[in-house]
Amino acid sequence: MSKLMTVDILSSIKGAKPSEAVNKLFDDIKSADINGEASINLNKNSVSLQDLRDDVVIESSALEKQIIIENFPKEKNGYLVVSKVIEE
């Protein structure tokens, strides 16, 4: 596979191209004045390791499982059908 991927491939959207409206935003951010406060990424929004929840498995209810199956797009003979997987 090529190392260079275009935005249509990255986005899984056929024919997708960068838009003028969004590129204008990027021009603004490139030229933005950061007021000499280049405090690159202090991770202010991260969650503390001390505050992580326990890694436990929570069993889904029967109704939840039933709805998950109902939402599956395709079923055949009691099996959930996915598209053919390709190998590259």
Binding site: S12, V22, I67
Partner: protein, 466 residues
Amino acid sequence: MSSQILKIHQQLVNKEITCTALVQEKLELLSQNTNNTVNSLLSDTALNLAAKVDEKIANGENIGLLEGIPFGIKDVYMVQGTTTTASSNLLKNYKSAYTATAIQKLLDAGAIPLVKENCDSFGHGSSSENTIFGSVKNAVNPELVGGGSSGGSAVNVAKNYTVFSIGGDTGGSIRQPAGYNNIYGLKPTYGRISRYGIMAYASSTDCVGPIAKSVEDIRIVLNAMSGKDVKDQTTYASAEIDADAIKTSEGIKTVGYFKNFIESDAISPEIKADFLSAIEKIKAKGIEVKPLDFFESNTLVSTYYTLAMAETASNLSRLDGTNYGNRIEAENLKETYAVTRSENFSEETKRRIVGGNQVLSQGFSDAIYLKGLALRDAIANNFEDDFKKVDIILSPVTPNTPPKIGDSLKDPHAMYLSDAYTVGFSLGQLPTLTVPQGTETGLQITAAKQNDELVLKFANFLKDTI
């Protein structure tokens, strides 16, 4: 306006109305409305719950304050067994397998869900026109947009179709439609209310919040939904806000406003004049007012959209039609992903996903994404310094009045720029309330992080001041 929740509660307790009649009336109004606010009605559930409330009252049992109060839900929240579409083609038949924590808390308190409400698809928009259910029309003037992305929720509250509604605010999606429809809308401090069960747009600024017609109703609903949730690691424990604690403006001595918001060429002369007039009335009450320096509007908007697009590109990558959604089969798995996403996402959603993948790509990320993160830190630092000088920051909600339906879709960049006054507070994760006073699209009241109580307190003060 006084509390609708308290009024209806008293009417139910005094047996002046029945809950069933109340719910029936609201469901009829919703089903007949021409503002395109409804994605689906929850009639059977609502009427069953209403009958139970009536039975309790008939048996002489006490009911809680929210018990029997009809409310609306933006169609991005999971409510088990209901269709949750995010106003998108991809999820038009998707059924929620579980219920969002915030909504579950309201159900546990006895509130009655009536409707899943129209909004911009996946929250992508500021006008509620990016939807498969038709553009939401403004409650005051139906030729204008209802605002967005929580447009259906704001219009339902403004038209009295719901007593309150639950919106979602990532960059202004509660506050701006509240302003456009002359009601209250709160974006609480990030993390005060669990995001579990809201369809993620930009996870680092997504907030759950109430839209209502009074400060008291905002307080009641906020208290019911707040709290730490093991299913959302970014939540924090918060104390309940007491009704008496927000009755006086005691403790509020200094108010600030951003000079550049008001001196900008983009603000309408009427909104500018009205805002400055409100400032004078606040000064006349003996409160010191300080003009503050802030980042340029273009910088705020581009920082917000850069980070939000990067996050939404990641969050929406799961929507490929494999396990759920409107899958369109093609010759292999990759093609199935691409065709499903190309055919089912709206133009605006595709624009944001592509923008997000651009900024996360090698060669772009340093100059744009990492700079966006650094700018966000600088903006947060700026707020921290400001709240050492002032108790409250007051600002307009929008630079202009609501556009006509159709105009925002023609010029996406102009739509992004119209969020200039709301996105900064989202990046700062601060509590901000829109009040329907001061300018034609209201005012925003902001306080320091986790100080939502002060915001409500100042809102009560403004009711008596301007």
